[in-house]
Symmetry: C2
Subunit: 352 residues, 2 copies
């Protein structure tokens, strides 16, 4: 039996004693112990593909802070890599692919990877981490959204304009839908394999849905997240598996996101959480939504900001405290402690 | 007397015969004749600082297309450059400053530049272009918003995380307000000098306001755009000078933007224009809002998209057709003709 159920309960909008808290990218470069292991491993993917090392860095932030969830340490682009695109990392420029999907022909050659062989390192990491957590804290599995994966696959890496992927979307919509459907099937298989291997919750990161218009977001991003929500294992061994959808820049589309049937919607910091709760908080739980840059300031200011967001959400459950995006690599680890402790300390009053 | 008054009239919500159309970055790299002049000039700033060359590239798109406005060809970072920060361009990485404003001390040394001496090349370009336009088409002047200028000044160039500028905002809010106030005063002097030199409308580009929370947008970006709106020359020689505010990612804050007293609000493509009109269209005109990536598709699809946006806006004036952001350098110039012509052709029915 899971000991700390705060995260699972809040993501399912069930009552809790305190608001649970975790951070996107909580296992990461801001921690000196992470940087040490990464240096020894040689590179980022060497960490991801070694279940023991992935387990170690997943647990590092939980040793320092009173976090209510662990999240699988992995990369967002494991699926395209398993499809044969050849993921690599350019220093200072982020992820890139040796073989981008630049044509309709390239899309026609893609197929759903066999998760348990091509991505065995991920399911092994999940089961290793789950064992190491000893049912103290729940483990969150994750994947990039189909649209977000497609942007990297078509552009060949990070982009500012999204010209190639949107160009394909507008000129070859059928091919783009085919690509997104293959990706949605892959994400379903991938997340279900993580759940079968021990993940107790899952999250879909739609980092780039916010670059679309409302119509194109519905057609090319949300539709495929809907497909994923419909295809996921939602209960295992009598325990519900909460699913969280997060679209950066998606504040305009919260109602549509909530209508997918996801349990929880992740917010960035562009919308106040009281407004988000007024719009969709009776249907789903909310995750968020502190600007990660607040962590550059002082413990006092961090505490005040946490208190403000908690007050804005108000009484009752259905709030998973988090940053609105991943923690930055240059944050002082001591400031993270102020953040985590403030959530627990200031939230008691809202749960009675 | 100005011959084509469509742009000015629509930006002031007065009736027009057809919806006016122009494009952000319409003088730019997608045009082969622009690339030729830029190559001869040697670099981008050599174009900006030479009034004859700036005039020539400003006029280039008007020779090709039936555009309803010209916009001054210049850079967004001329003000910080005039303050002594040393603007330069890294190949493939965009603008950067030799002397970023990294400390409170550096802010304390800044002052409002003397526009007519330090930025004489801009006011000269404005009067040269105005003369060359022969009152056929109006000339729009522009500036970056104080917050947007501050992001480049503090970060030293482009950024993904905005960690330095937000770090300063959260830890040294007084210094940041001082910087933004100096910038707001500078932008007022700069835009008023453009108006005195012949600009018949002005636009403030808040490219990076969308990375802020609602509270921080109000305090650190919108407040200073309000200061600018209040300080601008709004009428000259009996002609009103419309002012447009544009915040990329600002769809959540349209009501607050409209309340500044600006004549027109620029939209990106993340919100449908019918929704924007329902929210603020009785107070201000709207500019936008086609995704620039649509221009990667075919003339037929571009025409259909233009018709769709015009239909969404519906009957009556108060719409300046534009892209939601600048045109990309790899767009086919023939597709731009399809865009411009479609606006005029399909909009007649909405103005009777």
């Amino acid at each position: 039996m899971l000991k700390n159920t705060r995260y699972i309960d809040a993501a399912l909008s069930k009552s809790v004693d305190k608001t649970p808290v975790w951070m996107m990218r909580q296992a990461g470069r801001y921690l000196p112990e992470y940087r040490e292991i990464r240096q020894k491993a040689g590179n980022f993917m060497a960490l991801c593909t070694n279940p023991e090392l992935a387990c170690e860095v997943t647990l590092q932030p939980l040793r320092r802070y009173d976090l209510d969830a662990a999240i699988l340490f992995s990369d967002i682009l494991t699926i395209p890599d398993a499809m044969g695109l050849g993921l690599y990392f350019k220093t200072g420029e982020g992820p890139a692919f040796e073989k981008p999907v630049a044509t309709v022909e390239a899309i026609n050659q893609l197929s759903v990877p066999d998760i348990y062989s091509e991505l065995k390192y991920v399911t092994d990491a999940v089961s290793t981490i789950r064992k190491a957590l000893k049912n103290e804290t729940p483990l969150i599995g994750f994947s990039g959204s189909p649209w977000t994966l497609a942007t990297y696959m078509v552009e060949g890496g990070t982009t500012k304009n999204f010209g190639k992927v949107k160009g394909m979307m507008f000129t070859e919509p059928k091919a783009m839908h085919k690509l997104l459907d293959i990706l949605a099937q892959s994400v379903i298989a991938y997340l279900n394999a993580q759940i079968e291997s021990g993940a107790q919750a899952v999250m879909v990161f739609d980092t780039w849905g916010g670059v679309l218009s409302t119509r194109d977001y519905q057609a090319f991003s949300l539709q495929y997240m809907q497909q994923i929500v419909d295809g996921l294992i939602r209960e295992k061994d009598g325990q519900k598996i909460p699913v969280t959808l997060y679209t950066k820049g998606g504040a305009g589309w919260l109602e549509a996101m909530a209508a997918t049937g996801a349990d929880c919607i992740g917010l960035d910091w562009s919308i106040d959480i009281d407004q988000a709760r007024a719009r969709i908080g009776d249907k789903v739980a909310l995750q968020g939504n502190m600007d990660p840059c607040i962590l550059y300031s002082t413990p006092e200011k961090i505490e005040a900001e946490v208190a403000d967001i908690l007050a804005k959400f108000g009484n009752g459950s259905g709030h998973v405290f988090n940053l609105g995006h991943g923690i930055h690599p240059t944050i002082d680890p001591d400031n993270v402690k102020a953040y985590v402790d403030a959530v627990h300390q200031h939230s008691v009053q809202y749960h009675s």
